[in-house]
Amino acid sequence: MKKAPKDTRVVVGMSGGVDSSVAALLLKQQGYDVVGIFMKNWDDTDDNGVCTATEDYNDVIAVCNQIGIPYYAVNFEKQYWEKVFTYFLEEYKAGRTPNPDVMCNKEIKFKAFLEHAVSLGADYLATGHYAQVAFRDGEYKMLRGIDDNKDQTYFLNQLTQEQLEKVMFPLGHIEKKEVREIAKQAGLATAAKKDSTGICFIGERNFKEFLSQYLPAQPGEMMTMDGKVMGKHDGLMYYTIGQRHGLGIGGSGEPWFVAGKDLKRNILYVCQGFDNDLLYSTSLKAVKMSWVANQAPAKEFTCTAKFRYRQTDSPVSVKVLETGDVEVVFAEPVRAITPGQAVVFYDGDVCLGGGTIDEVFKHGEKLTYVG
């Protein structure tokens, strides 16, 4: 039998942002035994001793005191470095475009942090993610958040039954606009706080500058697929497939885009025109698959997929290989599929799971220039 809310302890992962603040508030209003915990994953103390984590934690403290819940902090810097940041650097080194948020959810928020919450006697872990959990047909389903624009299941695609069983997403059924309104009505200290953007540990800083502190940049040539040199690149890791900005190719005509990379020869391939054929592919292979139901829906099935966050879904057919990897064939050619990013599958509003894009094909032929 389910416990009454007052006997149900819910640990809320609080970032100091408006979403997790409202998540905690809503749970408290529903009568749960709510505990707010701030996770520190990264130390960015600058030369003046200013650390955004300290500022954020001060916001967590203010909000928790307003709501009337205890608050604590926990440090996962070491785990984050080992499980997320190392992966992040490795992927860039391999010429790919990693998604550290997916990894952070898998390894830190819904693993190390979830374990910590359980060790504190928590029945559930809640976060301010825009996603929903439902128990249907004898299993936990992860559904998109009802705010289409904010849905975060893309980042949560690696969650499985064991985790969903213990997870609450109090914001899944409300829209961001309303979340701000609730925060404002309640007078929460974070009501007007700007949403964080970009990769959490980089924040507002210059991405190139940040990355160059950890990986040596090797400038090289930028050329078209037929070998025409178009200029210099600053280091392959700074570019992602389909990218337009920062190429510095002038001249008339249509804009230029990143088409691919040759890691061995340190060449960045570019092509002209948003809809250039080189940017399109028809299928991909994904690895490190994880299924919400703990297993794929079938050996072969059709569904929709997202290849990047905030993209509209594309219809695809999926074939699960012996290895557990999948082949994904697109109903229509798709632009700028990028190795390292996540491919996430949906059946309507139900997120089925996802994996990491590893290889990209056009009509069955591997696009070696993409990776």
């Binding site: 302890r9 954020d56 060790s119």
Partner: protein, 381 residues
């Protein structure tokens, strides 16, 4: 929830008599002690009485007490004030690795200003060795600052021996007695102490007040300039209500000293006995002998301090770890690192219980049982 407060080394509740005293002073003696009129004289009278009784508590004279905003300011004043006033005689200072940050960070500041600081190590009970003190002592040493009793593990240092050693040396002897004062008898003359820091809120007094004892004749450079308060060594209108409350707290601390020593020894016995009966693994950090009565630091192998503290708090038990934990940054306690090395698990699984006047045997039993439950759960995981 029935909450149990076992974090008196962090701060302690004000005694009702202290509050009464402060209320009276706030209501009726609001004058500025430096004023020449009747209102000022009244306040000055309160201030003087407090100063006399506080001085007497350590065998000092009234003009040897400088009121400060607390222990941190007293420590800063002692170190920086001595360093600046005596740098012509040398620039070497000796302290220990297990001081409070008010001493350690001030020492680092002085290093940046050109002073040389020797940080003495401790053994695994948290004790310095007299041989190390002797070896570190140089002709140009101007100050030796060694804490009386440690705030994290309670270890009491050989203060009398150090005092005796320095009697014939030019170096002044300062001791941070913030944790020890009011719990163990201190006589600055018998112990040959030149400077001593104390804070009121650790002994049921108000926050924001403390004192630095400075032996008559010690050369000290003042850091707050302005009026002529505290014999020009610390300018600023005195916080008369806080000082009056402080004196009241000192009186209570002196009166209850023996009773506390006895009572807290029982508390330690209860805790350790119940850990034993509960079948959990534990290790005492420090010793039961050369230790402050109110501090007990225990390591629980297989646990981690973050989970321990939060679990205990959620169960209504307020304890702490030595490590300052802000925004999730856990720097392992420098005291435990000095005692056991930085790779020791003990630096990550130890908590401090610290007792106060109001604690009862019942509370201690309850806290022990709750600890056993939580430790068992964390270890089984």
């Amino acid at each position: 929830m029935n909450r149990i407060y076992l974090d008196h080394a962090a701060t302690s509740p004000m005694h009702p008599n202290v509050i009464d005293k402060m209320m009276t002073v706030m209501k009726s003696e609001f004058g500025n002690p430096s004023s020449i009129h009747a209102f000022g004289r009244q306040a000055r009278h309160v201030l003087d009485e407090a100063r006399v009784s506080i001085a007497a508590s350590i065998g000092a004279e009234r003009n040897e007490i400088i009121f400060t905003s607390g222990g941190t300011e007293a420590d800063n004043t002692a170190l920086i004030g001595i360093a600046e006033a005596n740098k012509a005689r040398g620039k070497h200072i000796i302290t220990t690795e297990i001081e409070h940050h008010a001493i350690l960070h001030t020492s680092q500041y002085l290093e940046k200003k050109g002073f040389e600081v020797t940080y003495l190590p401790v053994n695994n009970e948290g004790l310095i060795s007299m041989a190390d003190v002797k070896a570190a002592l140089r002709e140009d040493t101007i100050l030796v600052s060694i804490m009386y009793g440690n705030n994290e593990v309670g270890t009491i240092q050989p203060i009398a021996d150090i005092g005796a050693l320095l009697k014939e040396h030019q170096a002044y002897f300062h001791t941070d007695a913030v944790q020890a004062y009011g719990l163990v008898p201190i006589d600055v003359n018998a112990l040959h102490i030149d400077l001593l820091s104390v804070s009121a809120h650790k002994i049921n007094g108000p926050k924001g007040i403390g004192f630095l004892y400075v032996r008559e004749g010690v050369k000290l450079q003042p850091h707050a300039h302005g009026g002529e308060q505290e014999r020009k060594r610390r300018a600023g209108t005195e916080s008369v209500p806080a000082i009056a409350g402080f004196a009241e707290a000192v009186k209570i601390a002196q009166q209850t000293m023996a009773e506390k020593a006895e009572k807290y020894r029982t508390f330690k016995e209860i805790l350790l006995a119940r850990f034993e009966e509960g079948g959990i693994q534990y290790q005492l950090n420090g010793s039961l002998e050369a230790s402050l009565p109110h501090v007990l630091n225990v390591s629980f192998p297989g646990t981690n301090v973050e989970s321990l503290l939060v679990n205990l708090d959620l169960a209504g038990i307020a304890v702490s770890s030595g490590s300052a934990c802000t925004a999730g940054s856990i720097d392992p306690s420098h005291v435990l690192v000095a005692m056991f090395g930085k790779n020791s698990e003990r630096t990550k699984n130890s908590i401090r219980f610290s007792f106060g006047l109001n604690n009862t045997n019942e509370e201690i039993k309850q806290a022990a049982d709750e600890t056993v439950k939580i430790v068992s759960r964390l270890v089984d995981k």
